[in-house]
Amino acid sequence: MHNDIIITSQSPWMALAIMIPLLAAVLSFIGGRRTGPLFTLAAMVGVLVSVSWIAVQVWTQGPQSEAVGGWAAPLGRELYADGLSVLMLLMTAIVGSFITGYALQYFAHCEKQASLTSLSQREPSEVSKEQAIKASLPHAVLSSEHPLVAVQDEKQHIEREGIQKNHKLVHHSQLFWPLWLLLWSGLNALFLSSDLFNLYLILTLIILAAVSLISLNGRAIALQASMRYLLVALFATSIYLLGLALLYGAVGTLDIKSLALELEANPTTLIAIVLIVIGLLIKTALFPFHFWLPATYAAASAPVSALLSALVLKGTFYILLRLGFEVFPIEWFPTFGQLLGLLGAIAIFWGSWQAWQQEHLNRLIAYSIIAQIGYLFLQFPLANDMIDAGSLMAWKGGILLALSHALAISAMFMASGNLLLRLGTDRLDHLRGLGQRYPITFLTLAIAGMSIIGLPPSGGFLGNWLLLNAAYESGQWWWAGIIVIGIFLAIAYIGKIFTPVFEPIAQSVVFEKTPVLLPLSMTWLPLLLAFIALVLGLVATSPLTLLEIGSPFTEI
């Protein structure tokens, strides 16, 4: 299907994009407490340089491939980059850098708060504690008989436990860095890989990192959420592996480019492909496989939810794109496309309805993801002809939606995390009248919400516009109807966040005792990210041209 000549690159930049974060992860894990942010920043620079290098290479020379360790495609594990993978890599690098910056401040802030609370707990008894220690040696017998001292001892014991717990929290936040680097390395590897078994390995790596990240804040609810996610994800990958085994038995290769040439439509390959697709759909959380998503994302800390929703979901979606448009035999594609589109349409309705019913901001955002995932799958039925201009338009529109969703949703989770840090709750009715108090945070939510709804000039608008045009071109008007209804539903649930914000402050609402001052960058970084999502619609020509490099539609 690729008409472009694939250039075998001699420079190791693709391998570097994977190895730099992996190496930094190992080093920061060994290096211990304070080295995490340092290694992450170093790895960030390294990844940005190597990804831009790959982007320039693909932009000027066309699709590139790189044989790792000198082993070529059928036996070795080849890395491959075209316009789509470059765009995904850039998305990961940009969103990842913003989240890194945010997480630096976020965890520093949590740490400070934890030490402050433990100090304020300790302060009044600090003096008496020292006295007690001094007194305990000569007057040991006396002090144990003295009721007051005994009570204080007990109190100190409880406080010490509290301090230990805070220390534990601080220690856990240090583990964020190696895990995030591991995740980053996995994502880069995923977007550069062109072998299905390799992808299985990478998916599991991503799962293990993601599960540990979710459980990081140590709360019971987060532990349970991460356990549920682990079970579901392992189940999904084992179904995927079952499909791979059958596919390998039938075709004898798992390399995407070889499969595209050799895959024949017969019952065995049909079962194999269906299993693979189901495994990936569970991981992508398309309706009806979305059940694990809301609880998991609402329970994790803000930077983690931002990472998972923006990047990890897009990872499996990327594999589905590759399989759908490059591997599937052409005679199945219309049926598969319509089926995926139908599930997407149900996801839009169901996710929007559930989002509208939520009382908590984090859960509302989590359910909105389900609806947005539905949008991403509308391109499959719309691009089913593979030859006309409408198909290319639908494909581009769907990918553009994925990009702008990644930018907007991570901005939303970060802004919502800011509110949670300040208020201690994310109940929507507690946001009453806070618009004046936290203008930047609500501005972030509003701009990101614009992109999620699809208002011009956001990237979401352009993506929807391309999908609508494709629906018009291919004469499938019902998908256009679903897109438009989905936009109105999104206005409803995004609007629900802002209904209480501009109301006057109720008398009964009690603000936090000491106002939490967040560092400026924690409020500005999400705003900047949301702003990028907003202007993506204006500057989309270059990403859309980039997409055409090595796209399955270049034959037009």
């Binding site: 036996l75 078994f197 390995l201 599991t204 799962i207 293990l208 599960v211 540990s212 459980s215 709360r219 019971a220 609810i221 532990l223 349970q224 991460s226 356990m227 549920r228 682990l230 079970l231 392992l234 189940f235 084992s238 592996l241 079952l242 085994a245 390998y248 038995g249 004898g252």
Partner: protein, 104 residues
């Protein structure tokens, strides 16, 4: 060929047993064991596929199985650690909803 078909069927049977247990049992340890049974059945399937041509054994699935075992072991280790932590924090060995709402 019959041998290959036999082992493949056994593998599919094991996979079904694992899947059923994963869905039905609430206890986390049993769920983890069920996942391990599913992984093992996949390894069996891959080994059977490796022998699909009687004249020569295909070595590539064997490599897949080795990597698969690696993944299964690390995933199981993480799952067991999490299960233990959940038991320490909440005192329960499953993921039931009623306790969960009380904690948050």
């Amino acid at each position: 060929m019959t041998k290959v078909v036999f082992y493949s069927l056994v593998a599919v049977g094991l996979f079904t047993i694992g899947f059923y247990t994963l869905l039905v049992e609430a206890h986390l340890l049993r769920k983890i064991m069920a996942l391990n049974i599913m992984f093992t059945s996949l390894f069996l399937l891959l080994i059977a596929i490796a022998a699909r041509y009687p004249q020569a054994i295909d070595p590539l699935p064997h490599a897949f199985v080795l990597i698969g075992i690696l993944i299964a072991v690390s995933a199981t280790a993480l799952a067991l650690t999490l299960a233990r932590r959940i038991y320490q924090e909440t005192g329960q060995t499953d993921l039931s909803e009623k306790q969960e709402t009380g904690i948050s």
